[in-house]
């Protein structure tokens, strides 16, 4: 009885220890930091257009874009220095050429090219080759920048053929 009791107690303690360990690991500081940076990126970039996924451009493109926010495709989109750095770090660490990221947007892209528009990348151009210009200039679409006009789940990263 006492023996069984001590086994049960031991198992309970072990279980609690494992649960605590899982809790500690899942709350490691790296995760919330990434989530905060992603939320900041979605909020700030998404104020004017869809917050494009970082994997749509190489890191060098994001660096060039974030350097020129005072004239961002004809508009002043300046940010305070801290916010700008948070977003740049997030974009660069999740860019198409960052380790472990989706590399499709690097296909056919010369190393020397620094595209500023996603719609200038060879991969984007190839995937949209059958779409006539009249679709992009349609009043409900307005621009190649408006992914969500055709890709309904674009903001969540869904870009299946539609």
């Amino acid at each position: 009885m006492t023996y069984r009791h001590s086994i049960a107690t031991g198992a309970a303690i072990l279980g609690a220890a494992i649960a605590t360990l899982i809790l500690i690991l899942s709350a490691s500081p790296a995760r919330p930091a990434t989530t905060d940076a992603e939320a900041t990126t979605t909020k700030e970039c998404g104020a004017c257009h869809m917050a494009y996924l970082p994997q749509f451009l190489p890191a060098r493109s994001w660096q060039a874009l974030m350097k020129g926010l005072d004239n961002h495709f004809g508009e002043n989109a300046s940010l305070d220095a801290a916010t700008r750095k948070t977003i740049l770090d997030y974009l660069v660490s999740h860019a198409a050429d960052a380790p472990g990221q989706d590399k499709r947007f690097l296909m056919g892209l010369p190393d020397a090219a620094t595209p500023l528009r996603i719609s200038e990348t060879p991969y984007w151009i190839r995937r949209h080759s059958e779409i006539p210009d009249s679709i992009f200039s349609h009043p409900k679409v307005k621009s190649k920048a408006n992914c969500g006009a055709c890709h309904q789940n674009a903001a969540q990263g869904g870009f299946e053929d539609e």
């Binding site: 005072d70 508009e75 307005k142 408006n146 969500g148």
Partner: protein, 149 residues
């Protein structure tokens, strides 16, 4: 009995006076909201510092400013109304096709309630549309127009 009737009358009269005194302020507060009024107060202070003859903001000037066309900006957006439409009670659209909630306070009640957010967008859009910073009077006129719509 008489005393209590006298008291009642006095209470009623003082309540009436209090209402007279506070009604205009209360009305203005209802239109602008406390947060918006604080933002406007800051711009009024700045406008006074910039120009000793400053005598208040004007919704009419704000409307003219909102609709005006400028050639001095970045070019693609020559007017506030390029993106916000000529009726600030309507939804606007960015050039990238994203919807912008109406600027009119009656449609978007939290507009102009946060000085940092307000300053951020004036800094961006005044440069984009006008190619320069807006003056405190222009900002105050603009908000006064939007608060009254």
């Amino acid at each position: 009995m008489i005393i209590s009737r006298l008291m009642q009358r006095r209470v009623r009269r003082s309540a009436f006076i209090l209402l007279l005194l506070t009604a205009p302020t209360a009305l203005a507060m209802a239109a602008a909201g406390t947060a918006q009024q604080q933002v406007l107060d800051q711009y009024a202070q700045q406008a006074k510092t910039a120009d000793a003859g400053f005598n208040g903001f004007s919704a009419d000037r704000g409307k003219a400013f909102f609709l005006a066309q400028s050639a001095a900006g970045h070019g693609d957006t020559p007017s506030c109304s390029t993106c916000h439409t000529t009726d600030p009670r309507q939804m606007g659209h960015t050039r990238a096709g994203k919807e912008i909630n109406p600027m009119a306070l009656s449609r978007t009640p939290d507009r102009f309630g946060d000085i940092n957010k307000t300053e951020k967008w004036f800094a961006r859009n005044c440069d984009t549309v006008l190619g320069r910073a807006c003056t405190p009077r222009e900002k105050g006129d603009f908000i006064t127009y939007m608060v009254g719509l």
